[in-house]
Assembly symmetry: C2
Homo-oligomer: 499 residues x 2
């Protein structure tokens, strides 16, 4: 494909993209295909000779689009959103022609320098404490996802506590033995409602994991007391807690752990690395009314949120901020001879490969820069406020039908969880009431997704099966929540009668 063929192909791609974008609300959000749909539709090996763009492009509408779940549909209310935007897409376009595996500064200085600067922009925009800015000992890096960030933090935390405790032993086989012994006693902690990524990170790091209780009575959030109790219980068993994920907006309910209280705990246990995972809700910090939440983060070690969720930057883009960048570098830096260069050795430049698991890096800062500049701070606040507003509207709809629905949590950052009430039966035990409530709620939830017009998720909260609704796409509007609500009423009435 030469430049001129590329121009023609890219022009058709732009029209496809616009058409997809402009008609997204008219499509059922879930595809109606069944597992294995694709294999019979395409050849089973690479063609010997090249094909024309026309042939390839026409296959997109024929075989790919029918198998997509439309995350940008305003009827997508599952998980958390994954919002792209036109400026972010332009950022990806330029990034793809400036293609580089930019692992060192010299591999493409603009890639590194723009990233450092836009991460400072982001930190200032959300009023993160100054210790997370690059001018001091901290700084920000763009990683792919929260899972990657948390593995990075857990491994760095594991090695930091070992370095501190064994600093007096000279490098030797004996030290390796002691390090291994110590690793065997380490425990990573996370809220029972923390994202599964903390548990997975502990598996990867080869440490134990313990959940800190976060029951309904504390709003599904971790309190300072619960954390302290878990730490002490571990220590009593001869185990060593070395890491804790504090959650600012849990996956299940958008609960916020008691960050102010936990900041006090942090002082008592300075060897425990505390990371704040604000994967979804962190975007709300662009609005002044949420920025008080950032204050206690000063006491912790690291923080991240995903601009690819709620802040209009295409997937993937997780902003990871670290208070002392040397905590990462001391663990992840390895310099084989083919990576040596004067710039890196001068100490004047940042080599982000030493802040992360992979070596190579994409130019993700471009899309962030384009989004921040195109929307401006006020444009981004508008996006957040719209989500909050439609979330409150949906909550008010649920409250208007307390005969059918009971809100469990929210609206919190646009997310509401609720159950379908079981039909009342005189004298039925509470346990049987719960069981019947779970049954009708699950049935309604599954019926919604089976129809495919809307896509929701569910979760289990202290034994209660709840439906989770969060409408946070860029094109979210009250009218779609009204439509969903009508569907929910109809299905709830049917299911309650079905029994």
């Amino acid at each position: 494909m030469d430049s001129s063929q590329y121009r023609d192909a890219a022009h058709t791609a732009i029209e496809d993209i616009i058409k997809y974008h402009d008609t997204i609300a008219d499509r059922p959000v879930l595809p109606s295909i069944t597992p294995g749909y694709l294999r019979p539709l395409i050849p089973d090996s690479t063609p010997e000779e090249g094909e024309s763009w026309d042939a390839i492009q026409s296959d997109l509408e024929r075989v790919i689009v029918p198998g997509l779940t439309h995350w940008q549909s305003p009827k997508f209310m599952a998980f958390f959103p994954c919002n792209p935007s036109f400026p972010a897409m332009l950022g990806e376009m330029y990034s793809s022609v400036f293609n580089a595996a930019a692992f060192n500064w010299i591999c493409s200085p603009a890639v590194t320098e723009l990233e450092t600067i836009v991460m400072d922009w982001v930190a200032k925009l959300i009023k993160l404490p100054d210790c997370y800015l690059s001018q001091g000992e901290g700084g920000g890096i763009i990683q792919g996802t929260t899972s990657e960030v948390i593995v990075t933090a857990v491994v760095a935390a594991r090695e930091r506590i070992i370095r501190r405790r064994l600093v007096h032993i000279p490098e030797s086989e004996e030290k390796l033995d002691k390090m291994a012994e110590m690793r065997g006693k380490l425990v990573a902690l996370g809220s029972e409602h923390a994202h599964s990524s903390t548990q997975k990170a502990a598996i990867i790091a080869g440490t134990r994991f313990r959940a800190v209780p976060a029951p309904q009575s504390s709003g599904f959030a971790v309190t300072a007391a619960a954390l302290r109790t878990t730490i002490e219980a571990c220590k009593a068993k001869g185990l060593e807690p070395f890491y804790f994920t504090a959650t600012l907006g849990s996956t299940a309910t958008c609960a916020i752990d008691d960050l102010v209280g936990i900041a006090e705990v942090a002082k008592e246990y300075p060897d425990i690395w505390i990371h704040v995972d604000a994967a979804y809700a962190g975007s709300a910090l662009v609005c002044p009314e949420y920025q008080h939440l950032c204050k206690p983060i000063e006491a912790f070690d690291s923080f991240n949120f995903n601009l690819h969720k709620w802040l209009l930057v295409n997937f993937d883009c997780s902003a990871f901020f670290i208070k002392r960048r040397k905590d990462l570098i001391e663990t992840f830096s390895i310099v084989p001879s083919y990576l040596r260069n004067d710039f890196s050795e001068s100490g004047l430049v940042t080599d982000y490969r030493d802040w992360q698991i992979p070596l190579g890096r994409r130019f993700r800062a471009l899309k962030v820069w384009f989004v921040l500049r195109t929307y401006g701070a006020n444009g981004l606040r508008k996006m957040i406020h719209n989500t909050i507003k439609v979330g409150e509207y949906f909550h008010s709809l649920l409250e208007s039908r307390q005969d059918l629905f009971t809100v469990v949590t929210g609206p919190a950052f646009g997310l509401t969880t609720f159950v379908v009430n079981p039909t009342k039966v005189e004298g039925r035990t509470e346990a049987l009431d719960l069981e019947e409530g779970n049954r009708v709620t699950k049935a309604v939830y599954e019926a919604v997704n089976r129809k495919g017009e809307f896509f929701l998720t569910s979760g289990v909260l202290d034994g209660v099966y709840a439906i989770r609704v969060v409408s946070a796409t860029e094109n979210a509007e009250e009218k779609y929540l009204k439509l969903l609500f009508e569907v929910l009423i109809k299905l709830a009435e049917e299911e309650r009668e079905a029994k």
Copy 2:
């Protein structure tokens, strides 16, 4: 930015991309800026109100392009290449509008199903043994980089050996203790010339690492005997080797470990996971004359190569093939309630999140599919053959001036390493000859990069400082190697005289 503004902006972006692509050979490959160049050129925070696309676009040429290293320049001969292509860029465009965090099948079935199919296409294209196809117990997944692949393999290997050895102990605190104790004895192995990613993966996994010798006498490759000796030496110390990275095309010299011999070692130590890292050279396997190299891979556990290096798929795209996918799933699968769904539980679908570290996934299969179809198998072979040819040409140039240069290794997959000969001095010891050779070679290497017209890398091979040249961009031509050679002659003559 609405659809119509996006159309206009994207059209200007296309012209920028074409201009960049078409003029790449005229630019110095390395930027002439100094560390910190960017910060004074742009504001220090997000604007309050949004800016126009014109303002943003004009900043690209003003502040970004001057800070880029041009990896697509035919004068880029450093590291390994990172080749994009127009069809891959179109794949990225569509991927960015179909934006999704596709962690489960139901999150966007086309994302998963196309990936499984194109990974089968790739496996067949390079004649990987059938056990790596998805129809049996194996299959392929696209990950970001080799570093991610190797962490994934090391962690899965670590947990597999622990599962096997401790299968008789029921789940309990006691078992966790035993697991920790066993982890403390595990050793990951890699050639002393294996990429640093194996060592870094061992750090992440919390295990020890030992290098297997691969001296010049064995062509910088690991022999079966060297591997066996290292394994037994570890065992003699009470340590347990559990993983080995065999290299098909090492970073320093493109050496190939003795895969046939190592396949025999694999039979003797069935609990050691053997991964074949063919990050760069793996692309050459699209050519029939290299495919005999794939046969022994049947005896190993996993294999990867980066389509983003030599096979025209934009960064990032590492194809990771696994013989028994359950070896990954048994380690990485965690299913919290919000990820439960009937499709996953049916066992009929693939949930790639259980094959990798991160949860979310981009739609990378599109760009692979577009590239394979646009070039066809023959187009890709042509790309590889051109690199081999220009590599042989450069080697012949070096051989034509044995007074100035001595080839150390190659040409291997286009890569040649060589030294600048020191001026002859009667009676000087061999050690001093080596020292002077290293001095002039390093001086010449640094002078080339300082000029910025060409970009090379260097390495240290058994104490010899060598320059590494690999010209493997899509637009590589003999004329650029001729130009480089003239520069090298001039600088070598100057440096030899300079003393």
